[in-house]
């Protein structure tokens, strides 16, 4: 069960607020007289106090609060006369509540007995709707509330502190990099200093021994009395070398101080990093609450649901003391309720059915929370009907989510995962016994938002288990850092199952699927999704395998740089349309890395939104041509040629881009290449011809592939003309005339 002491702590914290509200309310009643607003506040406060007290089984406080609640309700409904003497009764009850709270602080339980007479008095007032005489006068003062060594802090405040802390971490990382530079610098200076010192020492030693030349002799009369042998004479060079070696000595001393300084600095930085990490952990734990608070709240709700549906269930809760970030906790309520409601509604049989099946009359639901590293795993198990995989398969096929061939090779678990696919079940009212897919796609979306995962396992007629795995804290995410086209990106690791090297799959670029552990996994090439890199050969490469509730997808990237814990910042409103990103993180070098949303990029036909900017059109053009070619030189030369003919030209790097232009612009002719990244020409032509809006739009293929085979295929798909590169003005002009593009020019 939930850690009782923990819950009592929270109760005491809350009760302090409630009692204060009550006292303030009573004073207001006294001063302003009975009014609806104050009574309403008092009524609500006693109601919540009753609820919280009964969760922690402080029944005396709960029943006192209940009585007050009744009294306030009666006052609101004006069932009993508003008499100031009532305030004495109320005050007395509040005083008893306060002394009970004091007892809880001291002994962890409610010691004193309830004053039966007082309770009866309130009952009498409420029921008989008459004003009973309050026998004794109650003192005006309240007993002091126990002192609780806690304060309540607004979550936003903690968030903003965490935000500041993240910036401190970035700055710290920058400083630590700087410190390395300093160490290098010190080494360079030290090396130079040593050389200088040696040079000077050896020079002065050598010079010391050479005889003085006459010219440089110091002409000091003081010395003339002595011969050279009688007195050591110093010329300016001697003095200079001596000075230099002294200075070098000073520098040397300074240098060794610098070394010890930089060493000290390094250890200071290390301590600082450690303390910052400590601070971060402590701050994060501030926001953590035991999950038991949520689970017990849910179990209350579930009992109501079960009663309404005529099911009899017992709920078992384990691991309630596991702590989890407050925002995560709040967001978990809905999905958990959803799953549990499904379990009771569709999973658990009626008592009669259960007995007939040889099960216990009561259905059992287990809610178990466990900690796995930085994750919390919540499993929800019911011993009801289970989910019929066959029915799930049929429905998925019916809905066009699954093709029958594929389904043959799928494991039970994989098929089961289709209940999370959007569109599997849309109507909330349909009660189909087997497929419990009602709104589960929404549950999955919420869990995904929390950077968590959800899986389902079931044995038909026996049980169903949902396993939710979410990070304990939202602020710090575990990310995989990867590289593509020399840019660094990050992706949350929660969906990542494993990483394979491309070497084992030499044909992956071609085939776009891999066969791994008897599973056919579709592959997307990351660089192709957003760049029109012209198929630069990848020598090195990695396949990141994602597991989306049982459905596996692979992403091909250039390089893996490692794993990192970081805070994801939002891109802000200006860039929020770029929904392929969850946000960005800042590397220790201070560079931004964009965090990819794996769910988004694997969406059917997803391509990074490449809006082509539209320029204002002031000129009246005689026609509009769309050029689709991945080569910039072809685009530019053709564009120049066509613009010279007073044509409006749109250009696109590939089929996909071209399609988006077609959505926005009217075009009279398309000239397209065949070999292009992202979407090649054949597919492009095929798509246009499938769209009834563009049935009559002429398409000319421009390619260096002049073979009949290529030509036939293009014409087959619906191309109207064929041009072989290189082109000249004449052929282009002929072409334009053929399709009446420049015929109707008005001069």
């Amino acid at each position: 069960m939930i850690e009782q002491a923990e819950l009592i702590k929270y109760f005491l914290l809350e009760s302090e607020d409630y009692v204060n509200t009550l006292i303030e309310g009573i004073e207001e009643l006294e001063n302003k007289g009975f009014n609806y607003e104050t009574l309403e506040v008092l009524y609500r406060t006693t109601h919540t106090l009753k609820g919280s007290a009964s969760i922690v089984k402080f029944n005396k406080i709960a029943s006192l609060a209940h009585k007050l609640e009744d009294l306030f309700e009666a006052l609101i409904k004006k069932e009993i006369p508003e008499d100031l003497s009532l305030i004495n009764v109320i005050r007395k009850v509040v005083n008893i509540i306060i002394s009970l709270i004091n007892e809880i602080v001291q002994y962890n339980e409610e010691k004193s007995d309830l004053d039966k007479k007082l309770l009866e008095l309130i009952d009498e007032i409420v029921n008989k709707k008459t004003l009973a005489k309050v026998e004794e006068e109650v003192s005006e003062t309240y007993a002091p509330l126990p002192t609780i060594n806690s304060v309540r802090v607004d979550l936003h405040l903690i968030d903003s502190i965490l935000g500041i802390l993240s910036e401190i971490i970035v700055q710290k990382n920058i400083l630590i990099d700087r410190e390395k530079e300093l160490t290098n610098l010190v080494e360079v200076i030290l090396e130079g200093g040593k050389k200088l010192f040696n040079e000077i020492v050896s020079f002065s030693e050598r010079y010391w021994l050479t005889p003085m030349s006459d010219k440089s002799k110091v002409l000091d009369t003081f010395f003339t009395d002595f011969s050279d042998l009688e007195f050591d004479r110093y010329d300016e060079y001697h003095i200079f070398t001596r000075k230099i070696s002294e200075i070098t000595n000073d520098i040397n001393e300074g240098l060794s101080e610098l070394i010890s300084f930089s060493e000290n600095l390094s250890s200071n930085f290390k301590t600082l990093s450690k303390e910052i990490t400590n601070l971060k952990d402590n701050l994060l734990s501030l926001r953590m609450l035991p999950i038991g608070r949520l689970l017990s709240k849910i179990s209350e709700a579930i009992k109501d649901i079960a009663n309404n549906l005529g099911k009899d269930v017992s709920i078992e809760i384990k691991g309630g003391d596991i702590k989890i970030d407050k925002p995560v906790l709040d967001l978990l309520y809905e999905p958990l309720i959803h799953i549990l409601r499904n379990a009771i509604d569709h999973g658990i049989e009626t008592p009669q059915e259960r007995l007939a099946l040889g099960k216990t009359q009561k259905g059992n639901i287990k809610l178990i929370a466990k900690k796995e590293g930085k994750y919390v795993v919540i499993s929800i198990t019911d011993d009801g009907r289970g989910i019929d995989t066959e029915k799930v398969k049929q429905r998925a096929i019916e809905k066009g989510l699954l093709n029958p061939q594929q389904a043959l090779h799928m494991s039970k678990d994989e098929i089961l995962s289709y209940i999370f696919v959007p569109g599997f079940s849309t109507s909330e009212d349909v009660d189909f016994q087997s497929g419990r897919g009602m709104g589960l796609d929404i549950v999955k979306t919420v869990i995904a938002k929390l950077k968590g995962t959800i899986e389902v396992y079931s044995e038909i007629h026996k049980n169903t288990t949902f396993i939710i795995k979410i990070p304990q804290s939202l602020s710090i995410t575990n990310l995989l850092i990867f590289m593509s086209s020399s840019l660094e990106f990050a992706v949350p690791i929660n969906y990542i199952e494993e990483i394979l090297t491309i070497e084992d799959y030499p044909n992956v670029k071609h085939e776009r699927v891999i066969n791994h552990k008897n599973r056919v996994i579709p592959v997307k090439i990351f660089s192709e999704i957003y760049l029109s890199s012209n198929g630069k050969p990848l020598e090195k490469g990695y396949l990141i395998i994602f597991n989306f509730s049982g459905i596996r997808k692979a992403l091909l990237v250039d390089d893996i740089l490692g794993q990192e814990e970081a805070t994801i910042y939002s891109l802000g409103k200006f860039l929020e349309g770029l929904n392929q990103y969850l946000g960005y993180v800042i590397s220790s070098q201070g560079n931004p890395r964009f965090v990819i949303d794996p769910v988004k990029i694997f969406e059917e036909d997803f391509s990074f939104n490449l809006p082509v900017h539209l320029y204002r059109e002031n000129v009246v053009y005689s026609g509009r041509v769309l050029i689709v070619d991945d080569s910039i030189s072809v685009r530019k030369s053709l564009q120049a040629l066509l613009e010279a003919k007073n044509l409006k030209v749109y250009t696109a790097k590939d089929g996909l881009e071209a399609l988006s232009i077609l959505e926005e612009k009217n075009v009279d002719l398309i000239i397209t290449d065949l070999e292009m990244p992202v979407m090649h020409g054949y597919e492009f032509i095929n798509r246009i011809r499938k769209d009834t809006r563009f049935n009559d739009l002429p398409i000319v293929v421009l390619t260096s592939r002049g073979t009949k085979k290529h030509q036939e295929k293009a014409i087959d798909l619906g191309a109207d003309g064929f041009l072989v590169k290189p082109f000249d003005e004449k052929t282009i002009t002929e072409l334009l005339e053929r399709f009446n593009i420049i015929e109707n020019r008005i001069f």
């Binding site: 891109l571 802000g572 200006f574 860039l575 770029l578 960005y584 201070g590 931004p592 809006p611 900017h613």
Partner: protein, 136 residues
């Protein structure tokens, strides 16, 4: 003439190619030297990338792409950071931006309304990214 207290409006002037634009001084937050811009794959062509500033990023916008202005050379590359709705965006300027004041009565040409600019250039969801013409 009498000395009159005339109300003046303050602007920041920046340059894109051969053109100059004015933006209200109040919306200017800072002017940065452009050291390194990090591209944001998938963003519209007028967003040249993001510049990290104090642990956060500021998107950099090239108005040359928006107004189809030809650029001879990138001589002085500065980023004019403006704030709209508590959010910072940067505009590339080919000159070092400077401040001017005009009489309130004078109608300034090539004036950019920051809020309008922000709304027009904001990255929209794929399906709604149409009709972002006629910014002025």
């Amino acid at each position: 003439m009498d000395e009159e207290i005339r109300e003046e409006r303050h602007f920041c002037v920046f340059g894109v190619g051969e053109r100059e634009f004015l933006i209200p001084k109040e919306s200017v937050v800072q002017i940065l030297d452009i050291t390194k811009i990090f591209p944001i794959p998938g963003s519209p062509d007028y967003i040249v990338g993001a510049l990290p500033v104090r642990g956060k990023i500021v998107p950099a916008i090239d108005l040359a792409k928006v107004y189809n202005i030809e650029r001879i050379n990138y001589s002085e590359n500065k980023l004019l950071v403006i704030e709209v709705d508590d959010e910072k965006i940067g505009i590339l300027s080919d000159i070092t931006p400077f401040f001017v004041s005009f009489d309130k009565e004078i109608v300034v040409e090539d004036y950019l309304d920051p809020k309008k600019l922000y709304e027009e250039l904001k990255v929209k969801q794929p399906s709604t990214n149409k009709n972002n013409e006629n910014i002025l």
